[in-house]
Amino acid sequence: MSAEIKERVLAYFREKSKGDKKMFYIKDVVKGLPDVDRHAVQAAVKELLDEEVLKYWSSGSTTYLMLAENFPKDA
């Protein structure tokens, strides 16, 4: 796993989370890094989830991704 791709994924989340929107589909992230292979982005996201830098948020039917620091405290 390229550390550079992980850094870019993280940078994507930090940049996009500056607004009101904090949760993103995995497809948003893939689109945000158009020059990177989709599978490499997904692998980087999984590593960031393992490291608990990112967290899943799910409605039950749909799953989103967000920075752990933005995860609702009461959830």
Binding site: D28, T62, T63
Partner: protein, 399 residues
């Protein structure tokens, strides 16, 4: 006048059928959460609005699915259901439990949750209703120790499910239990680590009777079927006729492809197997006389879904016949190609069937490397057009 706190729900205890209200009331004798669940539901009936907030927490350590966060929007009134999360437990294939396994499951849920279960949800999982955030990990640990695992939820592969198949059913053309079990074990990462555009469901029916509703409810349906001639026992056919069965009216005339003829004069049934679409109507009416053909396998269908986001869809055939034997390499390779195409092209919250409708079946077939075959035609003789890819056209001839 009644002094009940739940007069609206009490109505649902009347009548001859089992009542979920009665079950919740029994649970409420031991569990405050069940009591608050009942009272909140009564308020929902009174207000005509749900009082649940949903979403948030997704699972236990290392998992991204299997837990569905539920919170009361009136924790001031119902503090014991402030958090009332659902846990989805991967069911045993075919829903076979030993009694001690069921007892273990219930003991764990009595210890960590509300004691209320839903066996089983439409996904197939054993649904454990109502626990708090602090109990999620300890409950999962106890479930793991008892041999259970969480199922799928969110944008993940949902827990594959299968009919009882060869374990109990004479019609089984494939080992639905083994296929489902192997799919569950092979695709673990897809179940527990959501990375898809939306949910993806795999269901296995061992014959066309489709007892798990694979055609209507799954993105990928594996349907047991056969090749060749239906096996006929002429003596048993005559026995049905002697017993009063109207073979012409109840079998031949109801055959969707009209591939059968009954001769009253010489009391014989003729089947034109080339016209048969293996719907199994005749086999179901005369089980002692007719059996599936000897060469067994499965049809693979895609695109079914229930009506969420867009309308409901029935699956359609993409592989008319696939011989399915362990380790099912051909099947899993095909599933991987299908999921990869959907993952690349699907919009967020777009199911496979919707994507095929949007981009077209020919794009799907080209991407997954399948030939177009007549069995894929959904409505025969309704579409007169033939489409070619540009590279298929000989430029000299076109000129």
């Amino acid at each position: 006048m009644t002094d009940s706190k739940t007069p609206l729900l009490d109505e649902l205890e009347k009548g001859p059928w089992p009542s979920f209200v009665k079950e919740i009331k029994q649970a409420a004798e031991k569990k405050p959460a069940a009591a608050d669940l009942l009272n909140q539901l009564e308020l929902s009936y009174k207000d005509r609005i749900g009082h649940w907030k949903h979403g948030g927490i997704v699972g236990v350590k290392g998992y991204g699915s299997g837990v569905i966060g539920r919170y009361s929007d009136r924790p001031d009134l119902f503090p014991n259901v402030q958090a009332f999360h659902t846990m989805r437990v991967n069911h045993p294939t075919g829903w076979f439990y030993k009694t001690d396994a069921l007892r273990k499951l219930c003991d764990i849920w009595d210890k960590h949750g509300s004691g209320l279960t839903n066996l089983h949800g439409s996904t197939g999982d054993a649904i454990l209703l109502g626990t708090t955030t602090e109990h999620l990990q300890p409950c999962f640990d106890d479930l793991s120790e008892a041999g259970f695992d969480l199922g799928g939820s969110g944008s993940a592969l949902r827990t594959p499910s299968a009919c009882v198949g060869p374990a109990r059913c004479e019609w089984a053309c494939i080992d639905s239990l083994d296929i489902c079990y192997q799919a569950t074990m092979t695709l673990q990462d897809q179940i527990h680590r959501p990375m898809f555009p939306y949910k993806f469901k795999i269901k296995v029916s061992a014959c066309a009777n489709d007892c798990v509703s694979a055609i209507a409810r799954s993105d990928l349906a594996i349907m047991g079927t056969w090749k060749g001639r239906i096996q006929v026992d002429p003596a048993e056919v005559r026995a049905y006729a002697d017993a009063g069965l109207d073979i012409r009216g109840e079998v031949c005339d109801l055959c969707p492809t009209k591939c059968m003829e009954w001769s009253e004069a010489d009391r014989t049934l003729v089947i034109h197997d080339g016209d048969c679409n293996r719907c199994m109507h005749c086999l179901n009416v005369m089980p002692k006389a007719l059996r599936p053909g000897k060469e067994r396998g499965a049809s693979i269908l895609v695109g079914g879904k229930a009506p969420i986001v867009q309308g409901s869809l029935l699956s359609w055939v993409i592989v008319p016949f696939m011989k399915l034997e362990p380790p099912y390499t051909e099947l899993f390779d095909l599933i991987a190609r299908i999921q990869d195409w959907w993952d690349e092209n699907g919009r967020s919250r777009e199911r496979l069937g919707e994507l095929i409708n949007r981009l077209g079946m020919r794009h799907f077939l080209k991407a997954v490397g399948l030939p177009a075959v007549p069995q894929m035609v959904k409505h025969p003789r309704t579409n007169p057009y033939v489409f070619f890819w540009p590279e298929e056209i000989d430029k000299k001839e076109v000129k």
